[in-house]
């Protein structure tokens, strides 16, 4: 091994991880080619790769990707916005906290995807029911993040700002907003995961488009290769968003 490559090998964990993944895929491929795996259940990586390539080559995937993305991002944005508003309101107005907290606690305790069929009845099989499911998943998470966050703001920092002559507005701007932003950012990855869960499960239940719909279509046709290909797409998409969210978090929370 050349000097530089060995250096990288020792230092970069991801190189070793990538290597392990390649080895695993190679073994899988070899066993599959040897005829020891039923392609109906577990197609070879090359077969999955070919299906993946077809999906993109004939452009069949794009409307589905777009549908899932729109639903997830729409639900994410709405969920964060509503979660912040309700969280702040509950933290500031005790009466609202009394009303909201039990509702949110129940919603938090149950798997919220049980609402999926209801949303389909209410909102139809279009994108609205997916956004709604994605939204309810995210909003409850963000509500608790903001609500408990505001209550846990460091008293010493609040007093410091007051003794330096800061008024109520200064407290909101220099203490509460940055704290709330920090908590939301540190939960952003979880929120992204929730948003996609909502969109995909919604599409699973009833839809005409979307990666979730494509998955259930693959299931009904016993097409394991297609399933694996879609799972790979979803993995790639979520991984990409995680990386972006991670970068954002790292930059905005660089003081942390």
């Amino acid at each position: 091994m050349p000097e530089k490559l060995r250096d990288n090998w020792v230092r970069q964990a991801w190189l070793r991880q990538l290597f392990a993944l390649v080895v695993l895929l190679a073994i899988w491929e070899a066993i599959g080619r040897a005829g020891m795996l039923n392609p109906l259940y577990l197609p070879t990586p090359s077969r999955i790769g070919a299906t993946l390539f077809e999906l993109f080559a004939d452009g069949r995937i794009w409307p589905h990707l777009e549908a899932t993305f729109s639903a997830a991002l729409g639900g994410l944005a709405l969920g964060i916005a509503v979660g912040i508003v309700l969280g702040v309101a509950a933290a500031l107005v005790p009466f609202l906290a009394e009303l909201l907290e039990p509702v949110m606690t129940v919603l938090n305790a149950v798997p919220r995807v049980i609402l999926a069929p209801l949303f389909v009845i209410w909102l139809g099989i279009g994108i609205a029911s997916k956004i709604a499911l994605s939204f309810i998943l995210v909003a409850v998470l963000i509500f608790f993040t903001v609500f408990t966050g505001i209550r846990q703001v460091d008293r010493r920092i609040v007093e410091r700002v007051i003794t330096l002559g800061g008024d109520r507005w200064a407290l909101v701007r220099h203490v509460y907003l940055p704290s709330v932003a920090a908590w939301i950012l540190s939960n952003l990855k979880i929120a992204v995961g929730f948003a996609f869960t909502g969109a995909l499960v919604g599409e699973f239940v009833a839809a005409t488009h979307g990666l979730g719909y494509l998955l259930s279509f693959a299931q009904s046709t016993y097409n394991a290769a297609l399933m694996f290909a879609i799972i790979a797409v979803i993995l790639a998409v979520v991984l990409l968003i995680f990386i972006v969210a991670g970068r954002l978090e790292k930059y905005l929370l660089r003081w942390y």
Binding site: R160, P178, W255
Partner: protein
């Protein structure tokens, strides 16, 4: 102290002062810098609250950091500073407001001895230069004697009251370390310790 600065209403009695609230600065036991603001922005905070234009406030903040030995550290976040440096930033934050009265509640308790001695020395120099009055609460008798002109001994709380007053004849300007070698130091220390012990013992018996 919380009553003097207006964070708390006194249960009884009143605070008589000719100072506006902006003339009183307070330094807490554990520094509470805003973790998401750089040292410079932390120091400028009070100035900005009091209507100083941002750019001017930041320049002034840099100057205060420099006076406290932190020139070039303005860009750091509190997390990137040592305990002593954070304490200096907190000090700069309060001194930048040009207080006439500075309240301190065991402000250096969290620092190790050497850092503490150095921060205290710089603080004393600035306080003497700017002629700021300081009200210091401490359990450290040596610190009390070496820094103060007058000491009030409080009884044990709750409902602590003043039980004794001492005048400290060590001249100014002072070096807080060297003033411990002043001839008046040892006798005062002995007296203060005896009074304090009696108070503590007295309480222990009552309990």
């Amino acid at each position: 102290m919380r009553a003097v600065i207006g964070l708390q209403q006194p249960l009884s009695g009143s605070v008589e002062t000719e100072l506006a609230r902006g003339d009183v600065g307070i330094l807490f036991q554990d520094d509470a810098l805003l973790p998401w603001k750089r040292a410079r922005d932390n120091v400028a905070l009070g100035l900005v609250f009091n209507g100083v234009e941002r750019r001017k406030a930041l320049a002034e903040a840099e100057a205060w950091l420099a006076r406290l030995g932190l020139a070039g550290f303005g860009d750091r976040f509190p997390r990137q500073l040592s305990g002593g440096q954070r304490k200096r930033v907190a000090l700069a934050q309060v001194l930048a407001m040009k207080p006439k009265l500075l309240l301190m509640d065991e402000p250096f308790a969290s620092l190790d001895a050497i850092v503490r001695a150095r921060v205290v020395k710089d603080l004393v120099a600035l306080v003497e230069l700017e002629r700021i009055s300081v009200l210091l609460v401490t359990h450290d008798l040596e610190e009390a004697i070496s820094l103060s002109d007058e000491i009030y001994l409080l009884s044990q709380g709750p409902r602590a009251r003043i039980i004794r007053h001492y005048a400290i004849p060590i001249p100014r300007p002072r070096d807080p370390v060297l003033s411990r070698t002043h001839p008046a130091f040892a006798p005062l220390y002995e007296k203060l310790w005896a009074d304090l012990s009696r108070e503590v013992d007295h309480r222990a018996e009552a309990a």
